[in-house]
Subunit: 266 residues, 6 copies
Amino acid sequence: MTNLDAYRIAKEPFYRSVGGEVGLFEAAYRSRMPVMLKGPTGCGKTRFVEHMAWRLGRPLITVSCHEDMTASDLVGRYLLDAEGTVWHDGPLTLAVRQGAICYLDEIVEARQDTTVVIHSLTDDRRILPLEKKNEVVKAHPDFQVVISYNPGYQSVLKDLKESTKQRFAAIPFDYPEAAGEAEIVMREAGADKSTAEALVRIGARSRNLKGRGLDEGASTRMLVNAALLVAAGVPIMEACQVALVIPITDDDDLRDALTGAIAACV
Amino acid sequence: MTNLDAYRIAKEPFYRSVGGEVGLFEAAYRSRMPVMLKGPTGCGKTRFVEHMAWRLGRPLITVSCHEDMTASDLVGRYLLDAEGTVWHDGPLTLAVRQGAICYLDEIVEARQDTTVVIHSLTDDRRILPLEKKNEVVKAHPDFQVVISYNPGYQSVLKDLKESTKQRFAAIPFDYPEAAGEAEIVMREAGADKSTAEALVRIGARSRNLKGRGLDEGASTRMLVNAALLVAAGVPIMEACQVALVIPITDDDDLRDALTGAIAACV
Amino acid sequence: MTNLDAYRIAKEPFYRSVGGEVGLFEAAYRSRMPVMLKGPTGCGKTRFVEHMAWRLGRPLITVSCHEDMTASDLVGRYLLDAEGTVWHDGPLTLAVRQGAICYLDEIVEARQDTTVVIHSLTDDRRILPLEKKNEVVKAHPDFQVVISYNPGYQSVLKDLKESTKQRFAAIPFDYPEAAGEAEIVMREAGADKSTAEALVRIGARSRNLKGRGLDEGASTRMLVNAALLVAAGVPIMEACQVALVIPITDDDDLRDALTGAIAACV
Amino acid sequence: MTNLDAYRIAKEPFYRSVGGEVGLFEAAYRSRMPVMLKGPTGCGKTRFVEHMAWRLGRPLITVSCHEDMTASDLVGRYLLDAEGTVWHDGPLTLAVRQGAICYLDEIVEARQDTTVVIHSLTDDRRILPLEKKNEVVKAHPDFQVVISYNPGYQSVLKDLKESTKQRFAAIPFDYPEAAGEAEIVMREAGADKSTAEALVRIGARSRNLKGRGLDEGASTRMLVNAALLVAAGVPIMEACQVALVIPITDDDDLRDALTGAIAACV
Amino acid sequence: MTNLDAYRIAKEPFYRSVGGEVGLFEAAYRSRMPVMLKGPTGCGKTRFVEHMAWRLGRPLITVSCHEDMTASDLVGRYLLDAEGTVWHDGPLTLAVRQGAICYLDEIVEARQDTTVVIHSLTDDRRILPLEKKNEVVKAHPDFQVVISYNPGYQSVLKDLKESTKQRFAAIPFDYPEAAGEAEIVMREAGADKSTAEALVRIGARSRNLKGRGLDEGASTRMLVNAALLVAAGVPIMEACQVALVIPITDDDDLRDALTGAIAACV
Amino acid sequence: MTNLDAYRIAKEPFYRSVGGEVGLFEAAYRSRMPVMLKGPTGCGKTRFVEHMAWRLGRPLITVSCHEDMTASDLVGRYLLDAEGTVWHDGPLTLAVRQGAICYLDEIVEARQDTTVVIHSLTDDRRILPLEKKNEVVKAHPDFQVVISYNPGYQSVLKDLKESTKQRFAAIPFDYPEAAGEAEIVMREAGADKSTAEALVRIGARSRNLKGRGLDEGASTRMLVNAALLVAAGVPIMEACQVALVIPITDDDDLRDALTGAIAACV
């Protein structure tokens, strides 16, 4: 059996709890209830699930979903590998057999039909039929499915099926409040307090532009990038251009608006 | 021959009969008539077919249908497995040979052309030609096809062909009435009676919002999830948010409406 | 050479002739003229071709056509099977070599390009080139192509090419007249005469709703299903709901109209 | 080298010349000029090319083109066959090497990109590069490309590229004039003269309906089918329904118009 | 290493220079600058590149581009051939390694993504990474890329990417002027001077109809075809119909216009 | 382990710094921050990344992205090569293991789902899961991801996902200012100063036509091409036609405008 040690989180991942999300997740995990993490880009969903996997002592198998992911990519297939033809468990099957948390990141990117393979794992059956092997895998008692979902991305064409959504409890996520976000920026980028607070103010301003030309405001991750550039000697105005402005828009008016907001905050 | 023991239902699955559906299914099974289970998400269709398989003592082979399912996924193929190249019966062929009930869940997701392979099994021929093997499998006397169908999902682009529909007797399903649903919530989540009844009232309210912004109301499964969170110590208002509200809508007005309904019921 | 015994019809399939269709088919078969059976779902086209195959003493190879059927699915391919790599005749090639009737059911579902492979078999050449084998198979003198075609399914996007249509003689089919249909219902479901006649009246009523909301009326097959449920002890009103109403429409008004028609007939 | 005897036309195919088409083809063949046969369905293009192949003593390799035909289907590929992995010349390559006439029937059905492989064969280069084999095949001196093209089928979406069209000399085809067509019907179906003449009149009438609801009128092939049914004892009115009317239209008005025309001609 | 002798042009291909195109090409070749030949169908682009390859003493590898050409078709792949699994250089890689001119005919037909593989060969890097082999092939000093491009074919949907276009120097081509074109017709078809001149006049007339119903006028190649038919004894009016009129239009008015033009010129 | 020497830049690539881009890149590289190079075609992005790879002493693995690039093309796959079936690292995995800079050129051409594989490499996880091998590769400390992005190419249908964009710091690029561009033209093409300056003036003029018919103005690369043709003896007016005008537009008015601009500058 494949050893899942590579999927264990050795060191506690830093996570600053915002509300009751740690407790809610633990409550859901008690009955191995499938959990959906809902929130915008870069607000900490991935970090949270790593933190919970560490806290609960479970290996974490993450799958970045995409449009061309097939059911076999999740479940497994016969592969010609160096030892000849052998069955190869996919990441989902690995998690099911050995009791990992399986985290399907941005599940809405996957085709609805691929999503269907988790149905028998997310109701009381908790089984995964491997049709090509004529095997029905019963889920390990510790196995849990977690998915992430960014409400800003859905559309009529691309959304989870109602029969998928209804299988999950959903924990909402958002950017951390100011003090918390500044703490994260200081910690991750080694920034001093005033730089971190200025960047957090800039982040808040950019998020106000969401829906007025911007798809999303600057994420905490972008603030950390700006702080890292500052730490490497780049002046803060230029660091903000490179880390916060130029990556997210090519529109001159929006760039001016963002630049004005930055100038007002530093 | 592959042993179907993995597909037998060892323990009676709890099922609370609503109308005459158990008797109707048994009547249809007498002549092995193909059966379509029609109803909304999470109202118990899968549980019902498991119950009937147990009751009739037949193995149950479930296939979650999806858009990329090919005829070979159902029927079988030559596979390179660990023993070399061997023919591998698909789940449908297994069921046909050995007299299982084959349950095609959400069949409307499958491409119409895949659906076509069940045609010769659902009229008086009851045969399955395996063209790649030059074999014509005559169905085992106990074999039956069951499909599920959610009327809320159909569209002009995605519906069963008339020539498929006309092969099936259809048993309608809906959410259980209040007392029955409360009993299910108590049983599945270990909830006390008043919590269960409150949740059932909430479920009924949410179903009234169907068509007024919601695609579907909260299923019985979601009520069970809420009760499980309550049992794990989450306050009922928060448990309902996480289990019933946030998963199904990102619309603020709908969330407010649902939250008001919940407050009125607890 | 593959033995076609599995494709022979051992027992006379019951078929109640409606007009001169048996004679017409025999006349066409005399010059092995390709034949198209035209008519609605479930009116007996498949049964007719089985009857004719039995009558003419020819094996019958039926292919349910679908959108993903490739030319190779019809003609054959090199396959890795248990004996290694061998050429495998497809169902059409089998029929061509050994003089079977090849019945392509719902041919309009196949892609036009797949249909093209029958062209050289349906003019005076009567050959099938197997390009991958560098073999030109001359059709067995008894080989004949039969196709079915449901005029209700055609659309601008999906129709036979003119150059395909013009290769066929076409025999029209429709539901049997009342007495004949009642006889079929009695025979197939073991129904008594008055039940059978009531069901046939119901069928006629439902066919009048075609084009007024229904895609097609209830087929003879559905009437047999209703009769089988009655024979198993289901009351006739309920049996009609399950076998005739619920499978074909989810529209409340149409269901009411059908229910009214049923009540008036039993 | 594969023996092309299977592709030789042993017996003179009956062909009744209409205009100077035999001479034109011979003139084009003198310089191995690529030839396009242009005309409606079933007017004798395929028969003509068979006749010319016989007349010129060349083997004839016919490919029915379709939308999924790939360049490899024409040119060849490495195949796993019973002797292991071997290169397998496609039909075009066979013709190029050994000097056959290669007839690409309904070429407009093929994807434009597949058509491209004939470009280097239809200008003065007369070579076919087999890229997978690193071989450049110089065309046999007797090799010629012939294509058929039905002007009624073209559309903006599906037409030959200008750079393909300009490589061909085009010979126009149409239905034979009345006396000639009657002679064909008599010869092919063993019909007597008055039946043949009646059918030819019917054919002419149906062709007048082209563009007024009919995509194409009845082809000579359909007239032969009607005559064959008459010869098998079917009354002429019924034979015409089965062979000429029902196959080409489901429109009641058109059927009435055709039926009237038939009644007026017999 | 594969021998490229099959790709060498043994005999000087006849080419009648129009303007300074020979000198321009030689100037571009001096720095191995990528060259684009721009012009209508059949005006001599292919002949020109053959002539230049002969003149410069380089082997010429021509690839007719099409929509389904993959990067592997150009670059190479592991193939199962008669000797087992071996890497097989594609035509582009062959040319890169051994210093051939690689001519990508009608490159706009290829998918933009396939075109991308020439990018690293058409800037100062002059390398071709074979990712599947972990090999980076440095281009032979004599290697050059040449592409053809017909401005009449482009559309919004199908055009070269700006970042591809900007890598090429472009040499414009057009039909030869009258005397030159007559000389070509005489030489290629063995026509006498007055026939050749008449055909050239006809060609000029047809090119005036471009944009007035015709996609392109008659190419020089078509004039040669007409002359060849005349040489084989076909009267010039009929030869022009077959070689110049019927292949390019099915529109009666355009055919009349062309026929009138022909009558006026002979 | 594959030797990356083929991917090392042996000789300093000439790069004329425009603003602070070298310093910014070095600052970003200090924390191995993912970098996006934003700018128009042919302005030096590729040259810049080569220069930086040389400067930082890292191997550079460049991938030209395209629409059909799959995740396996980046990550690797089991391949049948000459030694049998072996795992083959893709270019991204090679870079991840051995600490190269991986440059994904024109990433927006790749399908969004392919882009997803870089997500776990561009946040603090810095891991690449090879699901087919059950291996989680931790990035070499020197590994960095660099992408290029041409703002002129994006559209609603084809853009980076917000969750991808937010992972990158972005350095803007544009054409060099006049003196710098002239220096490049002199250096790369061996042009004299006055020719170089004239060409640079022409380039500036053509860039003013962007948005007025031209998708993009002439790149520095095109100016170099023109200079190379001049160096090979082509008169400057003709060289500009061939290198700057004809490749980028077929519109007569635009060609006239460009020609006028050229005449005014030389």
